[in-house]
Structures are given as structure tokens and as C-alpha cells.
Symmetry: C5
């Protein structure tokens, strides 16, 4: 499971039918130094997350099984909205959680 | 799930029989800064995607189960054609979506 | 399986119901040179681990099956608390295991 | 799925019994710039591939299920021999496919 | 599957019960240039491997299924002891296999 910030959405009219109605969000992984990376992943929202929020993401078959459909086209899912992070001895990370 | 651009095709007459008739496309992963990387993945097309398009790709057992064959030789599948990306505050990414 | 140090906790009131009651810990992976990296992962605790401890982590479907729930939102789990590491010929790693 | 070049073989008399009789090949992943990387993976051959050939490789549970044995010690398998690659606008990649 | 050298052992009295009695070995992945990397993985031994040996490792659900226990806390397993590597045209790799 990893932490990331939602930075955008994907518009894809032509897609696997299991994705119809799903919110496809672009998530930027976060490091311990709080600096933004240039990598990104696309994850399906399952908790009502919105742009700018810090979220918890699961990957792989875990994400697919979450959907309840054994052949859904999902390998990453947002499963939590992060309100706070308690990091001992790592002062820079406080600005991770910036909502909306 | 990740975003990438289709940059080529693979010709492989000798292959696992589950791949016969499949379109094997070379996909270049995209970063948040919109710069092309030098890495690449091969993915099976499931949505009629073509060269130059930006696509959504799933990996691992999710991709295999999509094929409906429990022993197919697939661990990456194109599951969506991206028409637009809405990235808040990241201006450079607009040139990601460049079709054919 | 990988080794890491627990450096913090995640507070996420809105989350998948399978995570309610779970301790979500931030784990910093360790390298052979003992230097801290800036990457991090979130893992569910299953052995009573606490902040500052060096732990053994499993990922992917292995972690999910550990929970005993076929659709739990878990893809990383702490499965051991490391008391000592015996590294032949790699002197710098001794300071890995620093408790509490 | 990824493309790589076969650069060697592994001799391992002591191994999991599911690997007895399998050809264990060392595969060097290829990038879009055609430059060799220093990373390598070991994959089981399933298509009669030989040294110097460019091949298509699948990883993870996909590779294991290909073997038809639910507990085989395989997480990477060669599933195609690449004869040609058609890359639009990327001229350097032509020398990828160099046989034996 | 990947090649690595065993460089140490993990002592973890508090651990998932499926790991009791297992040998937890620290394995350093090897590159094509034969140089040691600073990354490491922990793998469960299944073939009687010992310190300093070059081994073949499988990861993910493949490793878990090898244990024969559907909920064991294993996502990496040593499945072969490498006696020799035949690398065409890559002279530096000969010193990979250094036992004990």
C-alpha cells in the first residue's frame, strides 16, 4: 500500500466495460522527504476521494478483488482518505496532507 | 494502472498459442512531467487502440483474467483509450494526448 | 519479503471497511548499506510492531491472503519483528536494528 | 510483458523439482533507446528460444499458470521469439533484433 | 526469477506462525556487470542454500504457493543453488558464482 496525492482525472470514453462508471484518478506517489516525484499511477476511487487529497492506494490482485468482479480491469484502487500522518523524527513530511 | 503512449508493434511468429491473433503493442510509460522515458512494456490490445494513442494499461494477474483464459500468456493489457487528461496545476502535461 | 523501519502511522477515518481496526504503519525500506532511503510503503501490522522497530514485510496477494478475508484492502503486511541481522562482511549494517 | 535479449544460461543442479528439465535463461531487458541495461532476469523457456534472440517475457502468476502446475517454481517465462519490431519515429531501435 | 548472493540471515523471534522453522536469508540481487548493488530482499530457503552462495529466487504468489500453505507469509523463496553461469560475450560476470 502506498500514499499519494490525487492530481488529476483520466477521460477515456473507449474502455473495458468493467470500468464504465468508475472514477479514474491520477495519483502521484509521495516520498518520505515530501517532495513530489514525477511518476504517476491511475487508480479507481472506492471511497469518494477528490482532487488534491492524500490517499491510500492498493495495487495488484488486491485491488481487483476489491471490485467484487473477478475479471474487472482494475489493478489499483484508492481505499482510504488520509487526514493526518504521524512521522517521528521526520519534520519535512508535515505538508503532505493538503486537502482539496 | 498506468498511462502510456503506443509507439510500436511486435512481430513474433513463434509464440504461445494463447497469443495467436492478439495485437502485441509496445507502450511507453508517461510521467507527470510529460517527458518520454526510455522504458517500454508490451501489452495486448483489448479496445482497438492504435499507434500514437495514449492508453490505460493494467498489469499482472488482472490482465490475465481479462482474457477469460486461465492460462493465457498475458500480464499486461490495454483497457482504455485516453481522450483527455485533466491535471490541476501541472501545465506541462497537456501535450500527453496526441493521437495517431 | 523486505526489511524496513517503522517511521510513522497513517490516520485515515474514511477507508475501506476491511481496514477498520487495522494499524496502518509507514515503513521505510532498508538497503544493504544501512542508509535510509526516501521511499516508503504503508503496511498493516499483524505482529504487534511499534514505532522505530525493524520489521519484515510481505507484499502483494501474500499479504492479502494473510488477513483471511478474500477481499480485504491489504497488499502489504508486517509479519515479523527483527531482533538481529547477521551480515557477513558488511560491517555498516549493524545499526539497522534500533528499537523504539 | 517485456522484451529482452537472451544472454546466457543458468546451471543449477540443486533446484526445486518443478524446474528439473527446464531451460533457465538469463534475459537482459531492452529499453526504447536500444541500449543494453545492466539488469537481468531469469526466465523459463517455453518456445524453444536460444542465445542471442530477442524474446517476449511474461512475469508473475501469469508465468506460473503457463506451466500447468499450480505449485511450480516459475515466475517468469519466455512466450515468444521476436522477429521484428515496428517502432514509429524511434530509429535507434532497429538493432534490437539480432539473432544468435 | 532473479539471481542473487546470500549475504546474511534475519533473526526474528516474533513472527507469523507460518514462518516458524523457516530460514530467512538476506539476498543481494546481482546485475549483468557483476557489481554488487545496495538493495536486498529476504527470501525463505527451500533448497538448503547457505551463506555466500549464488541462488535463484522466485517472488510473489509463486513463492507463496511453493510452501503448500495457502496463507503462509512468504512472497520470496530460494528455489535453486547456482553452480555456474554461461554468459556469452559478458566477461565480467564470471566472478558471480563464489561459494561459501
Amino acid at each position: 500500500m502506498w500514499l499519494g496525492k490525487i492530481v488529476g482525472t483520466v477521460v477515456a470514453p473507449t474502455k473495458n466495460e468493467s470500468l464504465v462508471g468508475s472514477k479514474l484518478l491520477i495519483v502521484q506517489p509521495l516520498n518520505l522527504d515530501g517532495m513530489n516525484t514525477i511518476s504517476m499511477q491511475v487508480a479507481v476511487d472506492t471511497v469518494g476521494a477528490g482532487n488534491g487529497e492524500t490517499v491510500l492506494v492498493v495495487s495488484g490482485s488486491t485491488a481487483q478483488r476489491l471490485t467484487g468482479k473477478p475479471d474487472s480491469a482494475v489493478d489499483a484502487a484508492i481505499v482510504g482518505i488520509v487526514e493526518d500522518i504521524d512521522l517521528q523524527g521526520i519534520s519535512k513530511a508535515q505538508y503532505w496532507v493538503q486537502k482539496g
